[in-house]
């Protein structure tokens, strides 16, 4: 994902100006000390500033003040660029929320008291469960749930979608509003669900600011590596200095400082924070609220994904897909009987039967249906109509109808049993239609798998994640749905405790488990899973138990989350490798031209001009590589559908081999250029 492109509307000069201003204030040694590598650069910078004033501070030196100033300014730029990279990344995230900042100040809102009187209060005075009214043009101050009214809302500040969204009470998705969005038309009554400082925007801002305080385990261990590498480099340069002194050769102090700066991993140290911050920004751009950064990084490790069948894999409503006549009846007859018996059935199944019958051309006006309707009830598990013509039409669950017919003294054709079984095996739910004591036909109800969902599971499989479908259905139905959706594993007749048990079992085997859920009964499983992704339209119990909330309630986004998690780590790894190899190569290129023995020319493979030109070329390269790599740090390395070994090989080719060639070529070019100048 290209953060720059996606963020085009936010990317104005303001980001860069702010970043530049903040970069300068960050020269304060106390703010640099958290990054040991940059701290070392700053220490060197201070020594160099003294040397600028008096080049002979540590004994006679052949370097001019101007040459010292050039080296000093390069060190200065190194720190500046690194601060700048960090601030650009931070500001990209901040700007996104910037427009909502106004919410942070107290604004006046119309609070509706218990007796219905409107009172003007400030946002900070609002408590959870207070009722407020928002009107056309108002900013919605806090997250809330719509309890009355209907209005169109501009959510572009949060989602980036410019088309307005309709909000009304009583539905899942469209009855929650997010603080920071704006009412375009009409009015809404809202119940406040979060107090000030807890809204999505608040958390987003908070996470952006928190990036340094809580490092993820991977960051901590990478930092340890960088510190170890810095100590080695420091030792190496110190020894070099002493040995050169012992050999009675002379080397300028600024040259040693340059060597040290070129050797320590400045590139990756400067880019660590930008990489992490931009990973976080990408998650936010997806409209996902993550509770911690650690959870984003662990997303890359997920082996298993738990999904509820209903709502995610299927539409959730069983629909009539087929009428099966028995005996001498034609399909059209059955369609007509099904239509009549379901007309007063208000359940989604009943409605789907009516609409399927309509496709067979059955369309009887309500006034033409004469008889006593029997509505569907969970108790009888059937519906129907006693027609004036005397026919008693019933439609319902297999065992209910059979019981009814046997009760009336009828008999069941064995053919019916065979048909019922056939439908079950295909994953459908059979319903029987009876007229008086005869079964006249069957209806095949089926839960429809969402279009395109198969591709989603294939993609998941491609990135190494096994999906497990949880469903309350019997195993036959579950199997058919799983096959249709391309899922290998499923658990049928699952109770909430079964889910937790299975998640625990998998975790004990060392698996990382993600769970997507929205219901209150999913909450324990969401909490148990390593990654719990709750849908925004889910219950608040689910949202509280989860460590990520998807504001768009789109479960397929899990793929993007996993990819972002992996990309974040991979970018960090690739740039670390690049930085360290780059440094080693610079060292090779530079050292022979530093040791002042004529014969060293033999191993000066780059044929750099010895002394100052070589030093300043390496240093310039070392400095400009930081801004040059910043876009990669922010956009991330490409992570296509590759196996880990292919991915590794590609990254090594680009960032490993590249790190060997780039410094050699560019240092030589800069050296020739500088040689031409002097």
């Amino acid at each position: 994902m290209n953060l720059y492109k996606k963020n085009k509307s936010y990317l104005n000069s303001k980001v860069y100006i702010n970043a530049a201003i903040e970069s300068i204030t960050q020269f304060n040694p106390f703010s640099v000390v958290k990054n040991p590598v940059l701290f070392l650069v700053e220490v060197c910078l201070i020594i160099m500033i003294f040397l600028c004033v008096n080049p002979n501070l540590f004994g006679p030196s052949e370097l001019t003040k101007f040459q010292n100033i050039m080296i000093t300014s390069m060190l200065f730029l190194t720190i500046l660029f690194s601060n700048f990279a960090e601030n650009v990344a931070k500001n990209l995230g901040k700007v996104q929320a910037e427009s909502l900042r106004i919410v942070h100040g107290d604004i006046e809102v119309k609070k509706v008291n218990l007796d219905g009187i409107i009172e003007y209060v400030f946002t900070s005075q609002l408590k959870k469960d207070d009722i407020i009214k928002v009107q056309e043009g108002d900013l919605i101050p806090l997250d809330g749930e719509v309890i009355d009214g209907i209005a169109s809302i501009d959510e572009s500040a949060i989602t980036g979608e410019s088309s307005p969204v309709l909000k009304e009470p009583g539905t899942d998705v469209s009855s929650t509003v997010t603080g920071g969005t704006r009412v375009l038309t009409d009015w809404l009554m809202l119940k406040v669900t979060s107090e000030q400082g807890e809204t999505f925007v608040d958390q987003m801002l908070y996470m952006t600011q928190e990036t340094e305080r809580h490092k993820t385990p991977n960051e901590v261990s990478l930092n340890a590596t960088l510190i170890a590498s810095t100590i080695t480099c420091l030792l190496s340069v110190l020894t070099l200095a002493i040995i050169i002194n012992y050999l009675k050769l002379k080397i300028e102090i600024p040259f040693l400082i340059t060597l040290l700066i070129c050797l320590i991993p400045t590139t990756i140290s400067s880019l660590l924070v930008p990489i992490t911050v931009s990973g976080f920004d990408k998650i936010n751009l997806l409209n996902i609220l993550a509770i911690s950064r650690k959870s984003i990084e662990s997303c890359g490790d997920i082996n298993y994904l738990f999904l509820d069948k209903t709502g995610t894999i299927t539409y959730g409503n069983r629909m009539a897909i087929e009428f099966i006549p028995v005996g001498s009846y034609s399909i059209k007859d059955i369609a007509k009987f099904a239509y009549l018996s379901s007309f007063y059935d208000q359940t989604p199944e009943g409605k789907s039967i009516v609409s399927l019958a309509k496709r067979y051309g059955i369309n009887i006006d309500k006034r033409d249906i004469k008889g006593i309707p029997h509505e569907f009830s969970a108790h009888t598990r059937m519906s129907g109509i006693d027609l004036e013509s005397g026919e008693i039409l019933r439609k319902g669950a297999v065992d209910a109808i059979i019981k009814l017919i046997i009760g009336k003294g009828g008999a069941i054709d064995p053919q019916i049993n065979a048909l019922v079984e056939k439908i079950s095996i295909q994953g459908g739910t059979p319903l029987l239609i009876s007229s008086s004591t005869n079964i006249i036909g069957l209806i095949n109800l089926k839960d429809m798998v969402k279009g395109g969902i198969k591709g989603f599971f294939e993609q998941l499989k491609g990135i190494g994640v096994t999906t497990i479908m949880c469903t309350g259905d019997n195993s036959l139905t579950a199997k058919v749905i799983a096959e249709e959706a391309g899922i290998e594993k499923y658990i049928s007749q699952a109770k909430p405790e079964d889910k937790i048990k299975l998640i625990k079992e998998l975790q004990d085997q060392g698996m990382m488990v993600a769970m997507i859920g929205d219901g209150t009964n999913d909450a324990p499983a969401l909490a148990q899973a390593d990654i719990g992704l709750a849908m925004n339209n889910g219950t608040s119990a689910a949202k509280e138990a989860a460590n990520m909330i998807d504001l768009d309630s789109d479960p397929t986004k899990i793929i993007n989350i996993i990819k972002i998690g992996r990309q974040l780590l991979a970018t960090r790894g690739a740039l670390t490798t690049f930085s360290i190899i780059n440094d080693t190569v610079k060292y090779f290129a530079l050292l022979p031209s530093l040791v002042p023995i004529a014969a060293m020319e033999k191993i000066n493979l780059l044929r750099l001009e010895c002394g100052f030109p070589a030093v300043i070329s390496a240093l310039i390269f070392n400095t400009i590589i930081i801004p040059a790599m910043t876009p990669i740090a922010i956009n991330g390395v490409k992570s296509d559908k590759l196996t880990p070994n292919e991915f590794m090989a590609r990254n090594m080719l680009i960032f490993g081999v590249g790190a060997v060639l780039i410094p050699l070529v560019f240092i030589k070019i800069i050296n020739v250029f500088i040689g031409g100048l002097t």
């Binding site: 261990s221 050769l249 490790d301 060392g510 998690g565 780590l569 080693t584 880990p644 090594m652």
Partner: protein, 560 residues
């Protein structure tokens, strides 16, 4: 070059099957730690073992934690070390009447004991004139066996910690290695040496007349037995001062061939043990291909440099290869293989390292700093593993997964411990080298001599820290300061590494195993992995190594 290649091929043909068998045996009988199961298989050995365990009060099922493993290992080593120190200190008073022995100074004895108990065998004394037969026949071999079994135990602990998830008991590991591995292998090897003319006798002194007619007294003894543990235990300290260059130590081409195999046997075995434990022999083969690939390239380079005409350096006859300091009965190719392999694993030497081509000594120096290229007994394996940990860390980051090694996560604690293990070498050697150079280095005036002195001193310290033990022979190294600094370096290089490795093992053992069932896992039994491992390890080594090679061997090379 052709001779070198064929000798190498012969070595691998013998080495690989033997190492695999021993590796499998170690994995099943020592690492897996289930004494009950294998009792029927090796009745006699188990009985001897049980007898020793009963006498010493060792519980063979005990599972120590990291602290108690470290504590027991240190106490045991301390006791052995102290006893041996006193033994050498009072050697003149115990059955030494007829030998004319100069008991060395305290700093010399201290250095010798530390050197042998840390498997370094940096011998600053002359075994023939400074040690009585009693010291040489009993005290030194005891130290050699102790250090060898200690190192192997540490290697086993880290394998257990990472793969099996527990630590084990030091005494059980120690005695099992002694009884099941080192003693039988040494017995077989010394018989082989004996067959191929290495002397072995209980006579202590031989008198003979030289060509000039002068009477000469010569100290002899169980050389074949001594050579066996010297090489198998990767100790490297010989019965004779000139080590394997001595005709009684290494009489001919065949013993030389056997000595090379004995020298690199245990590191190879440990890699196969790892493979058996991982149930993935392909991975062990890949690791060995990576390590031996590098070694073979080095050997070919060394024999190429040694076959060059080096008139420039040592003023030899035009168009002759560099035979200076080499034994003609062994020849340049076999000497090159022997010395290059020895620079990886032990201080055994069959030629004068000092008179090798500067580029060859640069390669030896590289091996000392690398440490994990086969490496010293047990410790080499630990060093290889630190590179493996770093490689796994890098792979994890680069493919976007939390880094893990054999199913256990690599986190802060593991990385810090690994980094400290890697930092021991540069820190101790650099400090030691600088002190010595600044104290004694002013006697040299020309830049060539200074560079050569620097190379010798850094080599000495690197060899001490990586517990190798080889050194440049003309270096004046018997000053108390030098001895003591080297003792400290050896002590840290050996025990600090072992202690950190045990804690590293403990830290890994407490982590839950992550499944590697998913298809998004990096496959480690591939050539790509071998390349990455070499890449990571060489990069790490080069950062430390580069300034030295520039200022030592390369200045020597160019400034003449």
């Amino acid at each position: 070059m052709i001779e070198t290649t064929f000798t190498l091929l012969a070595i691998f043909i013998v080495l690989v099957p033997i190492s695999y068998l021993i590796g499998e045996y170690i994995a099943n009988n020592i690492v897996k730690y289930c004494p009950e199961k294998n009792e029927g298989k090796l009745g006699l050995v188990s009985k001897i073992e049980d007898f020793i365990f009963t006498i010493c009060g060792i519980n063979k099922n005990e599972k120590m934690n990291g602290n108690s493993y470290v504590l027991n290992l240190m106490i045991f080593n301390f006791i052995i070390g102290t006893v041996c120190f006193l033994g050498i200190y009072f050697q003149a008073h115990i059955m030494a009447a007829k030998y004319n022995i100069d008991t060395p100074s305290i700093s010399q004895i201290f250095h010798t004991v530390i050197s042998y108990i840390t498997n370094t065998d940096q011998t600053h004394i002359t075994p023939e004139t400074n040690l009585t037969p009693l010291s040489k026949w009993f005290i030194i071999p005891v130290l050699m066996f102790t250090s060898s079994a200690t190192g192997l135990s540490a290697a086993v602990v880290i394998m257990r910690g990472i793969i099996l998830g527990f630590i084990g008991s030091f005494y059980v590991d120690f005695f099992k290695f002694l009884i099941r591995i080192l003693m039988p292998l040494c017995l077989i090897t010394s018989f082989l040496f004996l067959i191929f003319d290495t002397p072995n006798t209980f006579t202590t002194l031989v008198e003979f007349k030289t060509i000039e007619g002068e009477k000469h007294i010569f100290q002899v003894g169980p050389a074949a037995a001594f050579e066996a543990i010297k090489l198998l235990g990767q100790n490297g300290g010989s019965f004779f001062n000139t080590n394997s260059a001595h005709p009684f130590s290494n009489p001919n081409f065949i013993t030389n061939f056997l000595q090379i195999i004995a020298m690199i046997l245990m590191p190879t075995v440990l890699i196969y043990t790892l493979g058996v434990l991982l149930k993935n022999n392909k991975e062990a083969n890949i690791l060995l291909i990576a390590l031996y690939g590098l070694l073979v390239i080095e050997i070919l380079a060394v024999s190429y440099f040694e076959l060059q005409n080096v008139e420039k350096f040592y003023g030899l006859i035009n168009n002759a290869p560099n035979i200076l300091g080499k034994e003609t009965r062994i020849g340049i190719p076999s000497t090159s293989i022997f010395i290059t392999a020895a620079s990886c694993v032990s201080g055994a030497t069959n030629a004068s390292i000092e008179s090798f081509h500067p580029f060859s000594s640069a390669i030896f120096l590289f091996n000392l700093i690398y440490q994990g290229l086969l490496g010293n007994q047990g410790l080499g394996f630990i060093s290889t593993l630190t590179f493996i940990i770093y490689t796994a860390f890098m792979i994890g980051l680069m493919i976007g997964q939390s880094p893990q090694l054999y199913g256990r996560k690599i986190e802060k604690r593991e990385i810090i411990l690994t980094s400290i293990i890697l930092l021991i070498n540069p820190i101790t050697t650099l400090i030691g080298t600088l002190i010595i150079i600044l104290t004694y280095g002013d006697t040299y005036t020309s830049i060539f001599d200074k560079a050569h002195y620097f190379t010798s001193v850094i080599y000495e310290f690197q060899s001490a820290c990586s517990n190798n033990g080889s050194g440049f022979d003309n270096l004046a190294d018997t000053m108390p300061l030098f001895n003591n600094l080297l003792s400290i370096t050896m002590f840290l290089g050996w025990y600090l590494t072992i202690i950190l490795a045990i804690y590293l093992a403990e830290s890994f053992s407490k982590k839950p195993i992550i499944s590697t069932e998913s298809n998004y896992v990096f496959k480690t039994d591939t050539v790509l992995y071998a390349l990455l491992l070499l890449f990571v390890s060489i990069t790490i080594t080069i950062i430390v190594f580069f300034p030295f090679i520039i200022l030592g061997p390369i200045i020597e090379m160019i400034e003449t």
